[in-house]
């Protein structure tokens, strides 16, 4: 008898183990419920008013495809374009389109259509169709052009004049309640194969806390996790996936530092900030303190910009500024009121600056001397990111590319304007329910649901 029970137990435990890991093949069906903090303003990829958010890029990439994509190693891979070549010193690029791809409105993707789409927002390109190819001609040779084309804002969309853009992506937007909910259904005829999921429901404008609660209650399958909550989320045994460090938190001054004393002042501010404490306490050890714009994994030299915390030097710099300016005026530091991290960060920076003898005043008003910004990585191509950041700072870089050393020089030039004081590099993190598989986080921090699947739900 006893022997029998033991045998039964042994068998059943094996069975249980098998059940726990039996579902190794992807499962078709199910609607993925996603919650996000950010609110999508538009479904048009060319409406770049909000394309700097990971969430929006993720959503765009559900609906649209780009000519090429970036793989996990940052290399360009074919997508709508099956192959490409450059001529004339990277001045003329020809992308050959895949055959048989259809937009959501069942019209085929043509080279003309793709060219028309690409002309949006790229006025300095000369885009034309050449047979089944899209030809892009740029004035100066641009080796980063494919990486540029992999950006969500260069996704191929078709406009029929009904105000609604159509894409070729794995999902189709079915219902859009602006600011609240967005529903997608799988594109059965997706050229790269129908996604496993039947649909995706995105509820927007949810606070991070609400999202975690919803995940706990099983009301959501995929939620965003703020970096400062990442530690707790992992302690609470949530399934958490994080990207690489893809978001720069920095102080951005409204104006360039023109005078020497202003530069002293900003150097003092940078030196007075204890990034280590901010990281270990505010972010609970997540992310990385930084003094560089690009994360180290992308540039390879990030550590060469020391994120020193040196109050003595800060005071010395401030003393120099004071001797020239007589009195150091108080500055206002703006933060996004809807961003709890930014608020604490602003307050902490204020405290740190006060230690050095520099007075800051946190505010939410838009007209501040400096503000806390979050600059997302837009591309796996460091040059594009650098250009983007430079654009944000208002001191555009000439569109260029080159060696790592040149990139370092460019970044150093940007940082020497002292308009931007990098503080932290953050990952983008997502919490998922236990039955979500195949979730892929791209290099730029966006989520790909094309091959995601849900366990244990009836198709």
């Amino acid at each position: 008898m006893t022997r029998y029970v033991w045998r039964w137990l042994a068998v059943s435990s094996i069975w249980l183990m098998a059940a726990a890991s039996a579902e190794t093949r992807p499962h078709y069906g199910g609607v993925l419920r996603v919650m996000t903090h950010t609110v999508l303003a538009s479904l048009d990829p060319h409406d770049d008013s909000g394309l700097d958010s990971f969430h929006q890029c993720s959503v765009m990439m559900l609906m649209y495809d780009t000519l090429v994509t970036t793989d996990a190693s940052g290399r360009i891979q074919p997508s709508l374009a099956s192959s490409w070549q450059s001529q004339n010193g990277n001045r003329r690029w020809q992308f050959r389109l895949r055959h048989g791809i259809k937009f959501d409105d069942d019209t085929p993707l043509t080279a003309e259509g793709a060219a028309a789409s690409l002309r949006f927002g790229n006025s300095d390109w000369s885009v034309s169709a050449d047979g089944d190819s899209v030809v892009i001609e740029v004035k100066d040779g641009d080796p980063e052009l494919p990486a540029e084309l992999a950006l969500p804002r260069n996704a191929i969309a078709k406009r029929n004049g009904d105000g609604r853009p159509y894409g070729t992506g794995p999902f189709r937007a079915m219902e859009w309640n602006p600011g609240k909910k967005l529903t997608f259904a799988a594109n059965d005829n997706y050229w790269a194969g129908r996604p496993f999921l039947d649909g995706v429901e995105i509820e927007m404008g949810k606070s991070f806390r609400d999202q975690l609660t919803a995940l706990d209650l099983g009301q959501a399958d995929l939620v965003e996790i703020a970096p400062e909550q990442l530690h707790r989320a992992s302690l609470e045994k949530h399934h958490v996936v994080s990207s690489r460090l893809v978001e720069l938190v920095a102080l951005l001054f409204a104006r360039e530092a023109t005078s020497v004393e202003e530069k002293n002042l900003r150097a003092a501010l940078s030196l007075s900030i204890d990034r280590g404490s901010i990281r270990s306490v505010l972010l609970q050890g997540e992310g990385q303190a930084t003094a560089s714009i690009l994360p180290n994994w992308l540039s390879g030299y990030g550590f060469a910009f020391p994120a020193d915390f040196d109050l003595a030097r800060a005071r010395a710099e401030l003393e120099q500024a004071r001797s020239a300016m007589h009195a150091i005026p108080s500055r206002t530091i703006q933060y996004d009121a809807s961003d709890p991290l930014a608020r604490v960060l602003a307050e902490r920076v204020t405290l740190n600056a006060k230690d050095a003898g520099f007075s800051l005043q946190p505010t939410v008003s838009a007209s501040a001397d400096l503000r806390i910004v979050r600059i997302p990585l837009v591309s796996a191509d460091p040059w594009i990111d650098l250009t983007y950041t430079a654009l944000l700072m208002g001191s555009p870089l000439p569109r260029t590319s080159g060696s790592v050393e040149e990139m370092y020089a460019a970044e150093q030039t940007l940082l020497q304007t002292q308009q931007l004081i990098p503080l932290l590099q953050l990952p983008v993190s997502y919490g998922s329910s236990g039955n979500l598989n195949g979730l892929e986080i791209r290099l730029d921090g966006t989520v790909s649901l094309a091959s995601a699947w849900l366990e244990g739900r009836k198709p």
Binding site: A72, P143, L235, V404, E405
Partner: protein
Amino acid sequence: MDGAVYNSAIPGTIKSVVGKAAVSHARSTVLVLLAFLLVPLFADAADWSAQEQELSKKIVKVTGTDGAVALTFENRSSLGRRDSEIVENGLRSTLANLGLRFTTGDAAAVATTVKITLSENLTSYVWVAEIRTSAGEDSVVIESAPRPESAVHESVPVSLRSTVLWTQPEPILDVAVLEESAASTRLAVLGAETVSIYRLQNGKSQLEQAMRIEHNRPWPLDLRGRLMVRPDRSLDVYLPGVFCAESPSMPSAPSCHDSDDPWPLLPSLLSAGSSPRAFFAATRNYFTGVLTPALGKLASVPGFYSAAFFSREQHVVWIFVGTDGRVYWIDEHNINKQNFDGQNQETKNLDWGSDLTSVKTSCGAGWQVLATSASAESGDSIRAYEFPDDEAVAVSAAMDFPGPVTALWTEAGGETAIAVVRDQQTGSYDALRLALACGQ
């Protein structure tokens, strides 16, 4: 460098590191071989000379050749130890050829310093030389080299092998191999109440000695113990609140006494005698966190279950698995750089279990940390990790076991580790030797 950098073909430099050392892992094993992966050997030597030349020229352009420079290296890239050494040596010789003289020690404080960091980004190896001239001016010169097509992190550069040393139904706390030869092996097995010495010969085992451990207090529930082999091959036995020393004069009767002497965290061989010891809670299953000698200014860390460390060129990094489940990351380099309120202990959120230890190998970066997994599944697993760029990167596949790992200690030699696994199906305890094989 011309055109599209990302398209260049890169030699598989990592793989070349593995071959040479692979043989040394093929230690003789007596009992059942659970897993063994053949390691294909690659021997493509990389040619870094062009980049070395370029970087050296750039460095000399800044420093000039008048004075001596203090040159330091750090490898933050996925380059293996051997490759990094090749690069380091290459750079040294190129710089020397360009007329640069090197200095070390105290003189470095006043001389021009050059710190060369081997780093990388997605597509390239990035070598950064941070130069501080004796006048105090800082400059940075950079040279990059394309990286191989296949992403290093995705491959598994080393593989984990395990051999079962001993199996018994009673709990095993630790196992120490006292003698090992092709013919026979002498093995000390630490149980809850005894230390048994076995001789294994021709597939048979023979109990040579069974030494009883005297203790006044009852043992804690989750008993842990440690066997340390002295150079004279006598044994030190560490148990919670009890220390037994095998007296050379009376080898069969270890003298046990109540003691809260700190336990050595790692074999002295590994850390060249400077290994800190840690006090173990007498009635618990963890180290109190008090270290002796202190790690720099850090005399204590939170209570922990296990510790590992690995050495970088300049400094040592300690990793503790705290009783709170967190992994504490203590970079000796940063300990003295007191941040605010001593918050120099970073914590990492890793999916690790309570046990970890480190081994020094010739694979990869030269140091690997073996860690159990935190998964709540019935079985347990151990995986090897490296830490390029301070991020934990798994360098081996996880080795699964049919039950929980109850002990994980580095062996006296430092290159292998002992793991004790309780087989949930049979209920017996297996003492395994874990070794790393370089390459896939």
